[in-house]
């Protein structure tokens, strides 16, 4: 019972902060945080509610325990199983910045304990539920577990479907601005332009694309004409190649293969000085085309972007969404083979897909999501299903299936190169792995399929430019740089730790990648090397190109490989899960990553890449990362010391993981498990908050306007909360010990207006106070209805009151509007009729 009382008091403390109003008011010197409690009435109601719900739950569990014998009953009666709920009280510290004299330096505390409060509540409730479940002998296992009768493939199918639904549901749910949008930005129109050209039967030459706004709604598509265009192009290119070779042999020193003039803005003119072609390759367009065809042929009625594409791109967006869901399933299958646990693999795949950066690309038409899908599928085949791995006798293997899989793997590797030139290295590495690990037949299939797709890609370049080089078009792009070797290392580091574009700030779980790879290397060195190699083979060309993806979502150039890092991270987590400190750190990283993904997607629009979130604390982990661009040049840059310390911490964590992973797992019991966990929660949380605060201070900014609640909304919320209380006993701000609504600025209310309406015996009043420049005035209204009844209400902008008179007659209604500087009293005479 003592525990019940303790957790109830703790929950009441949490209710104090959760039901109050905590807002950041932006002022000239900085942010002034304000806290207004909800009033004694609400707190009393919360106390009753908490007592009833906690007492009810306790009684229910005790009743269930009574059936399981006196030993279980005695254990349950102590109430220790409710211990996790006691942590709720700690969340009250989230309003620390509002304590007079503290302010912005406590923004980090506020982020962890106030902004993330509902995540912690969910975890604490789930944890308590789990403890009750365990103490009662796991009665719910039969309800939520898989039935015994379910076969292995069926269970796998159910898990696949569930994962697909969770990932797709998350993407739709958390992206209110982007879901199924018809807005296109950046390079997206380039991929759609191929789809439109194919729909019109124009092949890859986009110069003849008719505007959608000029064509009839029932105009037929000419998709099949592309096949005849392809045939004639092959014939023309064969003839062209013959003459090119002859000319080259005649004069090898002066013959120019790449004959196109310098292009501009991502477009080039063909080698015959006719036709307009795009720099971007049509691999993604091929995958989007079925969806685009439905939008173009059936669903959309109007023209969208520049009159070129359908205004409604629902099915095109759905194609991307499906590819995201399929990627999650592909990752799950890969991790399932790699981690030998369906549960762990499912959680890992779901987590890596719903967190940043992959989740932000569910509705963006870029080749990154399909590239990730291809990478996980091919990697799964190469590592776990090739003949070298399965050890199946080639004579006994299903020949046709094997042939199809190997060919698909080869085609997949080739498709990567078609998606974007930055995937060339990944494509080559994966093809090499497939070849190296397969038997003779698989090798042949993979090589042929990969070779064919590469040959087609080079032929595509030859068709446009006359050159067989894969970068022929980019070489002719006058205003687009390809790779700048000098910026590779700086950008590689910045991809991780940059204050605006670095991925560690958006997804802190990535911090565990390097330690995870080292732990993995202990048992599977070749696999760790492969994952690192895949990461670098995409990150190096990407870093050579740019850090900022044309103002779009951070990390776009490397998103096709980032979620794969969940593999070493899950290996690390499994190895050290026995450590309470690791568990707490992992949960914090997980919650922050999920919240960052949710916050980013919630406000994200395609035209603005960096994070925007209207939070109460105004702090994000990105503020603890320095915005450095030259890591080995100027050491006097702001936050350089943070970069050095962060690098040291990463190196230290990696070294520690490597050392510890070699040792045998030994459980050193230093007190009861709950005590160790409690200690870990306190120490790790304090370490995270203190180190984040120190880093933020060193970088130089506690908050950013982009991360703060919009000031007008904050002031309106403050006005509503303050005017609702007659005399505020627990209202304080960073700059003032005791505040009331009189203190809050700006308040443009100098005048008020009264509108009275009567309907039978019911009188309705609307009190409107003066507003200015989008800011509502505010005050308090007191009404004496003349029949002995009075009412008091806050007014922010306007307020409505109504009163039903019991008896007919004439009444004097006195309305007093208390504004900041004066009180306006108005009297209205009213006659109430006999009819109700």
């Amino acid at each position: 019972m003592r525990w019940l009382l303790a957790v109830s008091l703790s929950a009441l403390a949490f209710a104090f902060s959760a039901t109050g109003t905590f807002v950041p008011l932006q002022t000239a010197p900085g942010v002034d945080y304000l806290f207004v409690w909800s009033g004694s009435g609400v707190m009393l109601m919360m106390a009753v509610l908490i007592a009833a719900s906690f007492g009810g739950t306790y009684a229910l569990v005790v009743r269930r325990a009574a059936r399981r014998g006196p030993a279980v009953l005695a254990k349950v009666r102590t109430g220790r199983w409710m211990l996790p709920m006691a942590w709720l009280g700690l969340l009250t510290l989230g309003i620390l910045p509002a304590v007079p004299g503290i302010g912005e330096p406590a923004a980090v505390v506020s982020y962890f304990l106030y902004d993330l409060r509902w995540w912690w509540v969910a975890i604490v409730v789930a944890w308590t539920g789990w403890r009750a479940h365990v103490v009662l002998g796991k009665p719910l296992e039969s309800v939520f577990g898989f039935p015994e009768s379910l076969s292995r493939p069926t269970r796998l199918l159910v898990l696949d479907a569930l994962l697909f639904l969770v990932v797709v549901g998350w993407a739709i749910g958390v992206s209110p601005r982007l879901r199924f949008t018809d807005e296109t930005f950046g390079d997206e129109p380039r991929y759609l332009r191929y789809c439109e050209a194919w729909y019109q039967g124009a092949g890859i030459d986009v110069s003849h694309n008719a505007l959608l706004s000029d064509s009839a709604l029932d105009a037929p598509s000419h998709v099949l004409r592309n096949a005849s265009l392809f045939g004639s192009a092959v014939w023309d290119d064969a003839l062209s190649l013959r003459s090119d070779i002859r000319l080259f042999l005649d004069n090898p020193g002066h013959f120019r293969w790449n004959r196109i003039p310098l292009g501009r803005n991502g477009f080039v003119t063909g080698k015959h000085r006719s036709g307009v072609y795009q720099l971007h390759q049509p691999g993604l367009s091929l995958l989007l085309f079925p969806g685009y065809y439905l939008d173009r042929h059936l669903l959309s009625l109007d023209a969208g972007y520049q009159g070129e594409f359908p205004a409604n791109l629902t099915m095109t967006s759905t194609s991307m969404l499906f590819m995201l869901g399929a990627s999650a399933v592909g990752l799950f299958r890969l991790l399932r083979n790699g981690l030998h646990s369906e549960g762990v693999a499912w959680l890992g795949a779901a987590f890596a897909t719903v967190t940043f950066p992959l989740s932000a690309f569910a509705f963006q038409l870029y080749p990154e999501v399909p590239a990730f899908l291809v990478i996980v599928l091919v990697l799964n085949f190469a590592w776990f299903h090739s003949a070298g791995r399965t050890g199946i006798d080639p004579a006994k293997a299903d020949r046709l299936r094997d042939l199809a899989r190997s060919t698909a793997a080869g085609l997949g590797c080739g498709l990567l190169a078609w998606l974007h030139p930055r995937f060339f290295l990944v494509s080559a590495l994966l093809a090499a792995i497939c070849v190296a690990r397969g038997d003779r037949r698989q090798r042949r299939c993979v090589s042929c399929a990969f070779g064919l797709t590469l040959f087609l890609l080079l032929g595509y370049n030859f068709h446009i430019t006359g050159s067989w080089m894969p970068n022929a078009m980019y070489a002719a792009a006058g205003d687009t740089h390809q790779i700048i070797p000098g910026v590779i290392v700086d950008n590689l580091i910045a991809y991780g730790v940059h204050g605006a574009w670095g991925l560690l700030g958006y997804a802190p779980w990535l911090f565990a990648t390097a330690p995870g790879l080292l732990v993995l290397a202990r048992t599977h060195r070749d696999l760790a090397l492969l994952i690192a190699g895949l990461g670098l083979s995409l990150a190096i060309p990407a870093a050579g190109h740019a850090l900022n993806p044309a103002g779009g979502t951070p990390g776009r150039f490397v998103v096709a490989i980032v979620p794969l890092m969940i593999w070493p991270v899950m290996v690390l987590a499994r190895r050290f899960w026995c450590s309470p400190a690791f568990r707490v750190a992992a949960v914090i990283a997980m919650v922050v990553s999920l919240d960052m993904s949710l916050s980013y997607n919630w406000t994200h629009v395609k035209s603005f890449g960096p994070m925007v979130d209207h939070s109460r604390s105004g702090w994000k982990p990105l503020l603890a990362l320095p915005a450095i661009r030259e890591y080995f040049g100027d050491m006097s840059q702001d936050g350089y010391v943070v970069f050095v310390l962060l690098s040291g911490a990463l190196a230290g964590a990696s070294w520690l993981a490597w050392r510890r992973s070699g040792a045998r797992v030994a459980h050193v019991e230093s007190g009861p498990a709950s005590l160790r966990l409690t200690r870990a929660v306190v120490v790790v949380t304090a370490a995270v908050v203190v180190s984040s605060s120190a880093a933020t201070r060193a970088v130089g900014r506690w908050t950013r306007p982009d991360y703060l609640l919009v000031d007008a909304q904050a002031r309106r919320e403050a006005a509503v909360a303050l005017t609702a209380l007659d005399r505020c006993r627990v209202c304080f701000s960073s700059s003032r010990q005791h505040v009331s609504w009189i203190w809050l600025e700006p308040n443009p209310a100098r005048q008020s207006r009264l509108d009275v309406r009567q309907d039978g015996r019911t009188m309705s009043l609307r009190v409107t106070v003066e507003s200015a420049e989008g800011v509502d005035g505010f005050g308090q209204v007191h009404v004496d209805f003349g029949d002995g009844a009075t009412a008091r209400t806050p007014v922010v902008g306007w307020a409505d009151l109504s009163h039903a008179y019991r008896d007919a007659g004439a009444y004097e209604v006195v309305v007093s509007v208390q504004l900041r500087d004066r009180t306006i009293t108005e009297t209205r005479s009213t006659r109430v009729g006999g009819n109700q």
Binding site: S149, S151, L217, D218, L298, L299, L301
Partner: protein
């Protein structure tokens, strides 16, 4: 549960799924055909709408240029007139910028449609004047004149 019965159960489920998929494919194809037909009808409507629009403009352009010029001049004078008009310095070109609203509302919106429908110049001018007098902008400036001149 034996392996055989499990297999039979799943076999049935797969057959049902295949049947449902086949039905859905047929329904989808039929829906697609219906949508294409609806698009053709909509296109026809759009063509007719454009024809009507073009017809209206053709009727406007059929009016003598001199006559339209006179009306335009009259409108400009009325906008500049402070006694009964809007009293705007510069008439239709107030503050050095053309105010296209009166042209759209009164010349293209009232006068020319009236002329295109076969009304005489006098009747078309009356229609235009009525439209001006009944406008909110005119009533705001000349409430008394607007009430007096309002046709019964």
């Amino acid at each position: 549960m034996t392996t055989r019965s499990t297999e039979e159960k799943w076999g049935t489920a797969v057959r049902v799924l295949a049947a449902v998929t086949a039905v859905l494919i047929i329904v989808s194809v039929r829906e697609a055909v219906t949508i294409r037909r609806a698009r053709a009808e909509l296109q026809q409507l759009r063509i007719e709408r454009d024809k009507i629009k073009a017809g209206v403009v053709t009727a406007w352009t059929a009016q003598p240029v001199v006559e339209v010029g006179e009306v335009l001049r009259g409108l400009n004078t009325f906008y500049a007139d402070s006694a009964e008009g809007f009293g705007r310095l510069g008439g239709l070109c107030h503050d050095g910028k053309l105010d296209e609203r009166p042209l759209l509302d009164y010349l293209f919106g009232s006068y020319l449609p009236a002329r295109a429908s076969g009304q005489s110049v006098e009747v078309a001018l009356r229609v235009m004047n009525t439209a001006i007098i009944e406008s909110d902008a005119y009533r705001l400036i000349h409430p008394d004149l607007a009430a007096a001149k309002r046709p019964n």
